[in-house]
Symmetry: C3
Subunit: 339 residues, 3 copies
Amino acid sequence: MADSRFYTRAAPMTLARIAGIADGKPAPGADETLRISDVAPLETAGPGDLSFYENRRFAEAFAATTASACLVKPEDAHLAPQGVALVFCSRPYRAFALVARAFYPEPPSSGQRATGAVIDPDASVDASADIGPCAVIGAGAEIGPGCRIEAHAVVGPGVVLGEGTVVGVGASLSHCVIGARVRLYPGVRIGQDGFGYASGPEGHLKIPQLGRVLIEDDVEIGANTTIDRGSGPDTIIRRGSIIDNQVQIGHNVEVGEGCVIVAQSGVAGSSKLGDQVVLAAQSGISGHLRIGAGAKIAAQSGVMRDVKRGEEVCGAPAIPIRQFWRQQVKLSKLTEGKG
Amino acid sequence: MADSRFYTRAAPMTLARIAGIADGKPAPGADETLRISDVAPLETAGPGDLSFYENRRFAEAFAATTASACLVKPEDAHLAPQGVALVFCSRPYRAFALVARAFYPEPPSSGQRATGAVIDPDASVDASADIGPCAVIGAGAEIGPGCRIEAHAVVGPGVVLGEGTVVGVGASLSHCVIGARVRLYPGVRIGQDGFGYASGPEGHLKIPQLGRVLIEDDVEIGANTTIDRGSGPDTIIRRGSIIDNQVQIGHNVEVGEGCVIVAQSGVAGSSKLGDQVVLAAQSGISGHLRIGAGAKIAAQSGVMRDVKRGEEVCGAPAIPIRQFWRQQVKLSKLTEGKG
Amino acid sequence: MADSRFYTRAAPMTLARIAGIADGKPAPGADETLRISDVAPLETAGPGDLSFYENRRFAEAFAATTASACLVKPEDAHLAPQGVALVFCSRPYRAFALVARAFYPEPPSSGQRATGAVIDPDASVDASADIGPCAVIGAGAEIGPGCRIEAHAVVGPGVVLGEGTVVGVGASLSHCVIGARVRLYPGVRIGQDGFGYASGPEGHLKIPQLGRVLIEDDVEIGANTTIDRGSGPDTIIRRGSIIDNQVQIGHNVEVGEGCVIVAQSGVAGSSKLGDQVVLAAQSGISGHLRIGAGAKIAAQSGVMRDVKRGEEVCGAPAIPIRQFWRQQVKLSKLTEGKG
């Protein structure tokens, strides 16, 4: 059960209501009036809890569970132990997420103006938005309904935030326009000028960076991630992309819709990622490249060439993943028995 | 054109004035009274704009440009379309940077003391310096003329900042002495104690770190970069070096003049970089090494040995770059036709 | 000598007192009343200073030192120059750390409540704890005796800090319980929700993250490091582990006792590190792995499989370190003479 110091759980719900939230159906014979009071993964779920089964790695845990109810595909129903109320759904993990969100809803914003907040008189802040302690809102900024600006966040002059967007503790935003339901985690840095210089014998002369960062709806950006603004064109993160902690996005980069960029990865200036691209952890993309839609870049890879739509690459420099593993096997054989 | 929510452009300028700023000369026959109102790269420049041509990758864009004027080397003048007023200069990209800086100048500091700023009575803050909302200036700190300390930045006790230095939002400085015209981006962490411990059966015992960080004039340090102070000796970043986002610099490191350290790279304790060294993105330098002046370290390389003056290395462990590519070719051949 | 702008040194101490602090013994004939006024490494130590000799790399510096006194193993006494007062101890580096800490003690907390601090009336803050400028303490938080919460740090609702813990400038804590004598450096992000989504055609749906971060006593966590809270289970950092700058720890990770995690490394979700594991810089551990106690992961390695107790691995993908080096040698030979 979640620690009540940190989490507030909604009231118990009937199986029928849970099935509705989960976009599923109670299995034939399941007691629709059964009261469920919490959610938990299979390993820790007990009486009163709802859990889920989708991945066969957990078949044993499923067979042994003491959860009161479980979200499951109809074809996996026979794996359930007796006495567990089943709710049928096509994608149990997603259904579980929906129910978990109903048990632990985000608190709605309440129009808080906390102690120490510094709001420029020329900013436009919706009455329903929360402004946390010592948060700073610059002149001309526009904060939409239901936004939550957490403690010490700084929303620079002219920055626009759509409805329901959250700016985490200590994040800083400048030169950017941000959509609705975006979540920016603590320490995020968005909109600072990028790494552009004219270098010569007199040194490195900074080129003014005159673009912006555009972030579309439903994007999430992890803690301490940095996204530089464009040099003239904009840096763009499209709808529904999720970016983990400590990622670096250079100027003029475009990230397509629904991309996944895992922790500590970096994308150098002016590279474009298509939709649904996955960058695994600690990978790097050189500048001025095109990464096709649906491409998958393995962890720690260093991509130095364009990657085709749907291609999977690995290594530094990155090559097609099957070739990468053939090389590893070959290298291993070359040194066999020499230990 | 730059978004007027975020950028304020100076008034139009004549071609003659632009030539002066660019340290160039109007081409024979060019109209010196032509009024230019903005700058833009070749792809987006239109009537009224000044652009530049230097790299032959953009020859096609140059030939098709509708910019009113263009900075160009005399020997490339024949590539220009008719009707574009040319300004001759020896390094057009640098010249363009100079003109762009004139069109979009940094606002001068105005002696702002913002709401919520906490300035210790024993700090010495020049009257012309700006202190942003909730910025904290510690006892004994010295803030030079024209400095800009942005919102939530923390300048610790005794820290010295030279003239015209900018400390970005939420940056924190301690135990450091910083020169003139230095730019520290948001979230920079400078001067915390380094990772030095005496380890043994009782655990890891922190060694007091008794040095400083010294940053010379005209250095730039990117967002969320961390620079630890020296353990006894100082950590030093010399004049004119530029450091990108999320770089880690360990204690006692020395970075020479004019170095370029790209995003997510790291330099471990006590290593010394000569002047004009380039570390490409996500590279790492082990501790206690010497990297010779002008050396180039490729992206994601892991340097475990000293690198000679002017040498280029690549790989992990890093080896001379030609050798690295020979190995890649060899590996590729060994597994050819086995897919 | 440490810069007096930043450091306050304790009064001189006699050799006898130093021997006591160092858990050592003055060598036969050493003047126990000798007054020592500072500590310094061999290269810079002079009259009045105490230094130490342990590593034979510094034998020459030891032989030439003008330090007044030196911590040394009895068996190395013959390497000392005449006139240096010796203190015998079994581990001179550790002994030096103890003496350095006595000369440069951390200032005790004084119950400061600085200007601009925002302390929720429902927080419990020990009277002896320091709360710095603009620091924010949430409802239900518990701050133990002797804690130091630096400027702009944010301690979220319900967070618990044990005795003597330090939260650095601009750090943010939520959903966590932290032990005694823990040091969190500037910009640390602890307790934000991890990177957990149910992905499908409709996009990436965030799974509520319902666990915590538990940090045991005597842990240190470097600047701008990020530690996500658990998804249901907790993320745990056990007693005495030291974590450097810009490290990423995913949800549900467990780090054993006394581990060393060097800068820019990352550990993906649900992996477990045994006690005394060392991750060198820029290394990465994939998710759901077990790393045995005492294992050593070389810099920049990418670990994709479980690692056994005490094993040393290197490379990406990581392999046993001897095998890694054999492969490097083989590769090198294959391309010899082809330059």
